[in-house]
């Protein structure tokens, strides 16, 4: 028994030190410089948000949304809730449409917005239109 103790002692001593080393919140200090890429990405996202906002504020789009029974303010609030990736995808889609407020363009924009609003609310579990959306657990 004594022999066991005398060998165990240095081992446990070693293990105790090892544990301290492992669990001490020691941070490797890494430079956290903000890069040009980060700046450019941040700019792209805020540009996209501003752009979607400006489209939503257009009179023809507003009128078409109201005609479809959609509250413009609510639509705007819901697009605000979209993630960066989602808003970039929508802005890309809107931007690639032919310019000039033709009726065709307005229809596409409105269907895009209706789709976004309904899909997002589906994901959030407020509505249940798209069967493929897995609902957020309440």
């Amino acid at each position: 028994m004594r022999k066991v103790r005398s060998t165990a002692k240095p081992v446990s001593f070693f293990l105790a030190i090892l544990m301290i080393v492992i669990f001490t919140p020691y941070q490797v200090v890494l430079a956290k410089m903000v890069t040009a890429e980060t700046l450019l990405d941040a700019g792209r996202v805020s540009d996209a948000r501003a752009y979607v906002h400006s489209v939503l504020s257009r009179e023809d789009v507003k009128a078409a949304l109201v005609a479809k029974g959609i509250d413009v303010r609510e639509a705007m609030m819901r697009t605000n809730a979209l993630s960066d990736a989602e808003i970039l995808a929508i802005a890309d889609r809107m931007e690639s449409l032919p310019a000039g407020g033709s009726t065709g363009e307005t229809i596409i924009i409105v269907s895009l917005i209706v789709f976004v609003v309904l899909l997002v609310t589906d994901i959030m579990g407020y509505t249940d239109i798209f069967p493929f959306v897995k609902k957020k657990q309440a």
Binding site: A31, K32, V34, A36, E37, L39, G43, R93, S96, L119
Partner: protein
């Protein structure tokens, strides 16, 4: 599939439907351009392609023109995908960067004229076949003869190949007018857009090519002296390559030039703490936090780091 996955999928479907009505056609005869003129770049080397390796050949022409001594053989392993008997566009872009060159995509088809007029060769992707029988091909545009209505290409096994604008436009349109400039870091595209150019430079920064990226940012600053991302990018490159004194001076100047941008104070703080100047570093990052903005969380992390030292 996640909600976002479905979202993007359906968005893609929407775009496929809406995309059909897209009007095409290049406006070759814009009033700002001199129609009578013809442009021919005489300093573009020609490499004939072997088998289906038009990608390596086209890229080699552009790279050698830009001052990188390579042969299509050297590039084949970097860009050619044997199973597809071709070279992907992303591989072409990646290879240009691996050879320390700035890969800049043509922003619009009409820019081709400006680039050639400015002496920059453009790699273009054409579909020489039809939409249902695809023959993809890379060629280098080396000249334009607008009076005769011709484009001059280094293409395949033919140097100085002249084809009519109409045919060229049709074959080029099928790649959605994909065009690529391969430029040394001191040369701006004729049609350079600030954000696109800086993004192209930042990819070199990510590859760890600090010197080349620094040159690119310097070039950008000569064109857009008030560009914050360019100033930040140059400072970060100086810092990354270990030139702390220069980086400190650079960010100090930047705080004078951009006194309302937190990011320059944050980066200055980082340089200062690395140089052992804790008191000033703290002061700088506190200024950054006070200014705030979308990157405030990053500044707070810097402060935490400074206090842990």
């Amino acid at each position: 599939m996640s909600g976002l996955g479905w979202f993007l999928l359906i968005l893609a479907l929407c775009s496929a439907i809406a995309g059909c009505g897209r009007s095409t056609g290049i406006n070759w005869s814009s009033p700002s351009r001199d129609l009578e003129k013809s442009y021919l770049l005489n300093d573009i080397p020609f490499f004939p392609q072997v088998e289906s390796q038009c990608g390596p050949a086209a890229l080699a022409m552009a790279l050698v023109w830009s001052g990188v001594p390579v042969s299509p053989d050297d590039l084949a392993s970097e860009v050619f995908t044997p199973s597809r008997k071709g070279s992907l566009q992303s591989a072409m872009i990646g290879a240009a960067r691996r050879h320390d060159r700035i890969a800049y995509g043509l922003s619009e088809p009409e820019a081709l004229i400006d680039e050639v007029a400015a002496g920059n060769p453009v790699i273009v992707l054409q579909n020489l076949g039809l939409s249902w029988y695809q023959v993809w091909h890379y060629a280098v545009v080396i000249g334009l003869d607008l009076a005769k209505g011709n484009v001059i290409l280094h293409s395949g096994t033919t140097p100085h190949k002249e084809i009519s604008l109409t045919v060229f436009e049709r074959t080029w349109a099928r790649s959605d007018y994909w065009g690529l400039l391969v430029l040394p870091p001191h040369r701006l595209p004729a049609n350079a857009k600030e954000k696109e150019y800086l993004l192209a430079v930042s990819h070199l920064e990510r590859l760890g090519r600090w010197d080349i990226a620094a040159d690119g940012y310097t070039t950008a600053l000569s064109r857009w002296p008030d560009s914050l991302p360019a100033a930040v990018g140059l400072g970060v490159c100086l810092y990354r390559r270990g030139d702390l004194a220069a980086a400190e001076a650079h960010f100090r100047d930047a705080t004078v030039k951009f006194p309302h941008e937190g990011v320059v104070y944050n980066n200055l703080a980082q340089v200062l703490i690395d140089r052992g100047n804790k008191a000033e570093a703290r002061q700088a990052v506190l200024t950054a936090i006070e200014i705030g903005g979308p990157l405030k969380a990053d500044y707070e992390r810097t402060l935490e780091e400074i206090q842990n030292r």
